[in-house]
Structures are given as structure tokens and as C-alpha cells.
């Protein structure tokens, strides 16, 4: 703390005592929740699955909040400044169809199979090799993501408050370690829902006051067109060519790379988010939860994308890429959200805004750590190292893994500190693992002819192809014209196409190997595959209580929003 105070003279803002009280209150509250829930995390089902008793609302908000970490708050506000309203695609077409697909098509198989995790489903459907490959790659990705979250938080604290980066990393990681170790997934879910409300309470003032200052949305569009380009305020009309939009992407990359592959992969197979839904109390709640999450997801651009656009239209300084900012001591794209916070928020409000950022970052970290803990214990340690342990032994292993996972994340945060761009780094990770995994899981659920060897080799080849494409462009940047179909493509566009190709490789290899190997008997596919599973339908309730009704409502609003901002 002393070091932090010494550095405060170089900060972007200075906290008043009331701000410090608000931040301290948050830390005390989450630790208190952890201690309060400790007595309810005694069995494996409690610690790893939160007792499977969450309502649709809690599971849905937690599902959404697990994704409201550093990536969402700081990274996407920065992306909105850099790429304009195109960044909204990652919230709408890059989330809503996938969430609805998860709710109505995939969730019944996850839920009926009673799996503890996504790798656990792969074990049931394809056998141990596919599970081991998926669990190891997920564990690797998860701790890296956690490190990214941690670094992003420490960076915000450094920029806004002048706090020492090491101080921020260790305070946040110790707090997360304490409350997840004590209360397990239930503790993580409680804090994610709390964080959801804190983020809205702390961040909603920026777009309200920003739009007031700009003179409304129409005037903001004029300001952005004047300071950047009119291309920055259109979502679809500039995507006809690679070089007519700030991202250097074609609409096919957005629709097929992002909408059909990356988002489907992330929202339906990333165990970090799916774990929250698996904790739902019954199938109807498990189906409603992603739809509730989708409804709120459509609104998140108000507190993330809009501040980035407001920064583009209103901030007096010009923000630059991270590498340039470091060299020139200027402000980077990723700084736009804290800069807007400092612009409008006085004492008290600033403390809540900073608390919202901290909560988002810590929640992201806790989500990664709790998912890592479950996958390590149930999908690596139990099947491969110690299959005969007692339930209490696995709970104990879960608590220790939480602490070790946090420590690995801390190490990762120090590695990430030298990365040029947080966003590109995270997107590259998604492309490596998520897109092929989606291919394997969706074929497993929808095609009964898919075999164990087919699933394993498809997943492996898809992942290797993704890493190879990324390495190819790193070594030879001109390869971008082949991977992303255009030399004008930016990093995010490259990731979209990389995901698309790796998905296709995965599907092709899975189909070919499956056709050459012996299929499983139908009796072993009950509860795992479409056509072999009787899915309980919601009957005897009014239509407005059925998941399919609310999925339709969300779908219609999604279409209308895209037309409005075309």
C-alpha cells in the first residue's frame, strides 16, 4: 500500500477517501461471502457444481458475468475506439445466435448426461483420449486467460490510480484465491452476480453523461465522422470489401468466422461459461439461463462499446496502439474506459466505477480458476492420476488446485505484461482451441456415426492447423493473404478466418476417420446424441414460461438492432 501511495502522484486520477472506502467495502464483502459459503462446500457436488441448485436467473447472470472480465470491459471499449461500432458484432452476431443454440439444442445433452464438464461430455461420447486432449488444452488456455485478466486489472490500477502493478496483481489474486478456495463454484457464482450489478451501477453513467455531452447519438455520429471516418458508425454497410472498414474484414468473416464458428465455440463449449449453466437446478432453468444471458448480452454494448465511441468523439487526446503508447508515454486504445470514467465521475462515483472494473477483473479470474479447478480434478487428476480417491479427497484437491491455479495465473500475468496487444493475444487463444472443440462437440451431439477415433483426431488436427496458421503468419506476414483472404486484414480478421479453417479441418478429419472406423452401438449413445435421446419438453406451462418463446423474443430484437445500426 505504501508503494502504491508513493506512486499516486503519477496517476490519471486521485481517489478521495470515500472512493477508498467503497473499494475496501467491496473487498470485505467478497471475502465475507466466501467465509459465509464455506460451510456449504463440503462435497464434490457442492464445491465443483454449486450443488446444481441455481435458478435460471442466477445461472444466466453468472453465465454472462463470467465473460464480463478484462476482455469485455477494457479490451472491447478499446476495440470500439480502434474499430468503431464494428466491435458490437462480438456482442450480437458473435453471441446471441450461439446462446440460443446452446439453450435449445445443446443444453439438453449436457444436462441429461449429468456431466461435470465439457471434457467430461467428450469422455462419454468419444472416450478418454478426446477428453484428455480437451482437458489439457482447456487447462492451458484457462490459466493464460486468467493471467490476461490479472494483468489487465493491474494495468488499469496503474493508469488510473498510480498503484504499483505488483501490488494490484497480488491483492486481487489473494482475494480470489481466498473466496474460491472457501466457497468453490457457489462462491464464484455469488460474486459474479454481485459483480454484474456493480458493473451496471458503476459504468452506466458514462454513456448517459457522454451522450448528454455529445448532444445525442446523431451528433456523436457526426463527431466521429469528423474525427475519424463515417465507416466507424456502421455495422454491416461497410463490410462489402476488405478495405472499406476499419477492421479490414469482409462480411463473410463476421458471419461465418465469428457468428458460426468462434462464438458458437466459445458460448457452447468453453467450460468457463458452460459450467455456470450446468449448475442450474433443472433442465428448464438450464435452457432459460442462456436466453436470459442473451437478453442482457445485447445491452452490454451500452456500457462497453458506447464509451469507446464516445471516447473517439469527445476525448481531446488521440489514443494509439499499446506499443506506440509505451514508446511515446501516451494513452493506448485500452485506456479509453478509465479515461472516460475519470472524465465524468467525481468522488464516490469514481470509487464505484473503479470497483466495477476490479469486480469485473476479479470475477473473470475467479471464473477461470474455478473452471480450471474442476477440469483438473475431474478430467485430469481423477481419471489419469488417482482414480480411487474419496469425495472429500477430491474436494481437498480442488481447494489446493485453486491456490496453485492462482499462482500459475500470477506467473502468466508477468509474461503477458510484455504482450503488444491484450485483445489479439486472447483472440488468438480462442482460435487455437475453441473452434475445433466446437466442431468435435457439435458433431458428437448431432451425428451418431461420429466415432471415438474420429472425435480425437478431428480435435487434434483442428487444433494443430489453427496453431500452424497463426505461426505461419507470425513468421511470414505476407501469408495473411492466404489465411485471411486479404493482405489488408487486421489481427481480429485473421482470427476469424483462422477459426473457420480450423473448424473445417476438424469436421473433415472427424468425418473421414469416423467413416473408416467402427461406430458405437446405439445403446451407448442414449443421452448423448440427437435422435438417440428422449428430450423432456416443457409442458403444462403458459407459453411465456417456455424457453423457446423467449428465444424467439431475443431473436427478433437481435434482428431489429442489426437493422437499426446497419
Amino acid at each position: 500500500m505504501m508503494l502504491a501511495l508513493v506512486n499516486a502522484s503519477s496517476s490519471l486520477v486521485h481517489l478521495a477517501p470515500v472512493d477508498m472506502v467503497i473499494i475496501a467495502f467491496y473487498f470485505l464483502l467478497v471475502i465475507a461471502i466466501g467465509f459465509y459459503l464455506k460451510g456449504q462446500a463440503n462435497t464434490g457436488e457442492d464445491f465443483f457444481m454449486a450443488g446444481r441448485e441455481m435458478t435460471a436467473w442466477v445461472a444466466g447472470l453468472s453465465f454472462l458475468s463470467a465473460n464480463l472480465g478484462a476482455l469485455e470491459l477494457m479490451g472491447w471499449a478499446g476495440s470500439a475506439y480502434q474499430y468503431g461500432i464494428l466491435a458490437t458484432h462480438w456482442y450480437w452476431i458473435g453471441a446471441i445466435p450461439a446462446m440460443i443454440f446452446l439453450a435449445l439444442v445443446m443444453m439438453p445433452f449436457y444436462y441429461i448426461s449429468k456431466t461435470h464438464s465439457v471434457p467430461g461430455y467428450l469422455k462419454l461420447r468419444f472416450g478418454e483420449p478426446a477428453r484428455a486432449l480437451s482437458a489439457v488444452s482447456f487447462g492451458f488456455m484457462t490459466v493464460l486467460m486468467s493471467g490476461v485478466n490479472m494483468f489487465a486489472m493491474a494495468k488499469v490500477m496503474q493508469i488510473v490510480l498510480g498503484w504499483d502493478i505488483n501490488f494490484s496483481i497480488w491483492v486481487s489474486s489473494i482475494t480470489v484465491a481466498v473466496y474460491v478456495t472457501l466457497g468453490g463454484l457457489r462462491s464464484a457464482i455469488f460474486n459474479e452476480v454481485l459483480q454484474f450489478f456493480l458493473i451496471w451501477a458503476g459504468a452506466l453513467l458514462i454513456p448517459i453523461l457522454g451522450l448528454y455531452e455529445a448532444g445525442g447519438w446523431s451528433n456523436l455520429k457526426v463527431l466521429i465522422a469528423h474525427r475519424a471516418s463515417e465507416q466507424y458508425v456502421h455495422m454491416w454497410s461497410t463490410l462489402g470489401h476488405f478495405n472499406t472498414n476499419p477492421m479490414g474484414i469482409h462480411w463473410t468473416g463476421i458471419v461465418f468466422g465469428l457468428g458460426a464458428i468462434i462464438s458458437m465455440g466459445y458460448w457452447t463449449t468453453d467450460f468457463l461459461v458452460v459450467q455456470r449453466i450446468l449448475a442450474a437446478k433443472d433442465l428448464r432453468s438450464a435452457e432459460m439461463a442462456p436466453i436470459i444471458g442473451a437478453g442482457f448480452k445485447m445491452m452490454v454494448p451500452i456500457i462497453v462499446i458506447l464509451p469507446g465511441l464516445l471516447g473517439l468523439g469527445l476525448l481531446p487526446m488521440k489514443l494509439v496502439p499499446e506499443s506506440v503508447a509505451v514508446a511515446t508515454h501516451g494513452y493506448s486504445y485500452n485506456d479509453v474506459l478509465p479515461l472516460m470514467l475519470a472524465r465524468y465521475c467525481g468522488p464516490g462515483l469514481l470509487g464505484l466505477g473503479i470497483t466495477a472494473l476490479i469486480a469485473g477483473f476479479m470475477s473473470g479470474m475467479a471464473g477461470n480458476v474455478s473452471a480450471f479447478t474442476t477440469v483438473w480434478t475431474y478430467d485430469i487428476y481423477r481419471p489419469l492420476i488417482n482414480p480411487k480417491g474419496s469425495d472429500s479427497h477430491y474436494v481437498s484437491m480442488g481447494r489446493w488446485t485453486t491456490v496453485i491455479g492462482v499462482l500459475i495465473s500470477v506467473g502468466t500475468a508477468y509474461l503477458v505484461m510484455h504482450s503488444a496487444s491484450i485483445m489479439d493475444y486472447v483472440q488468438a487463444l480462442f482460435s487455437f482451441f475453441i473452434a475445433p472443440l466446437f466442431g468435435t462437440v457439435v458433431l458428437g451431439m448431432l451425428w451418431k456415426r461420429a466415432t471415438g477415433p474420429g472425435g480425437f483426431w478431428g480435435l487434434l488436427c483442428g487444433t494443430v492447423s489453427s496453431v500452424s496458421m497463426w505461426a505461419w503468419v507470425k513468421i511470414d506476414p505476407t501469408a495473411l493473404r492466404y489465411v485471411a483472404l486479404s493482405p489488408d486484414a487486421k489481427a481480429l480478421a485473421q482470427d476469424m478466418y483462422q477459426a473457420l479453417w480450423s473448424f473445417l479441418v476438424c469436421v473433415t478429419v472427424t468425418v473421414v476417420v469416423s467413416m473408416l472406423t467402427k461406430p458405437k452401438p446405439d445403446s451407448e449413445l442414449v443421452g448423448l446424441v440427437y435422435g438417440q435421446t428422449v428430450i423432456p419438453r416443457v409442458v403444462g406451462v403458459p407459453i411465456y414460461q417456455k424457453p423457446v418463446f423467449w428465444a424467439a423474443v431475443v431473436g427478433v430484437i437481435f434482428v431489429i438492432l442489426n437493422i437499426i445500426f446497419w
Binding site: Y36, L205, L209, G348, L352
Partner: protein
């Protein structure tokens, strides 16, 4: 949501958090209203702290009362 039968609802924790934060922000907003700072934020004259803090206090107060542990 309540868990394990008689535990404290998650909505109570959320309400309590909003209530305390709202009161602190409302108080800080009133203080700034009476003592204008040397370097005010942009749109200071809107006194966002007062009305935003008040709104959070009302919402938080309602949730805290409605989901208080003694209320079952």
C-alpha cells in the same frame, strides 16, 4: 435464489452492496454540491453523484429489506 434451504439470499448481498455504495455516493455528491472542487469533472453541474447515489440507495434499500434474512 436461496441455497441449502435457509441460507441468505444472493439478492440480499446485492441489495446491501448497492445500499452502502448508494449512501456513500449520495453523501459525497451532497458534499461536492456544497463545496465545489477546484478541478471539477466534465458536466459537474449535473451533480450526477446526488441523483445516481440516491437511485442506488432506493434500489439497494428495497432489495435489502425485501430479502433480509429474517424475512425467510
Amino acid at each position: 435464489m436461496t441455497t441449502h434451504g435457509r441460507t441468505v439470499s444472493i439478492w440480499f448481498f446485492i441489495g446491501f452492496s448497492l445500499l452502502i455504495n448508494g449512501l456513500l455516493i449520495f453523501g459525497a455528491g451532497l458534499y461536492e454540491y456544497a463545496h465545489k472542487p477546484e478541478f471539477p469533472v466534465v458536466l459537474f453541474d449535473l451533480h450526477a453523484g446526488v441523483w445516481w447515489g440516491g437511485l442506488l440507495t432506493l434500489i439497494g434499500g428495497f432489495y435489502t429489506w425485501h430479502y433480509r434474512p429474517s424475512g425467510g
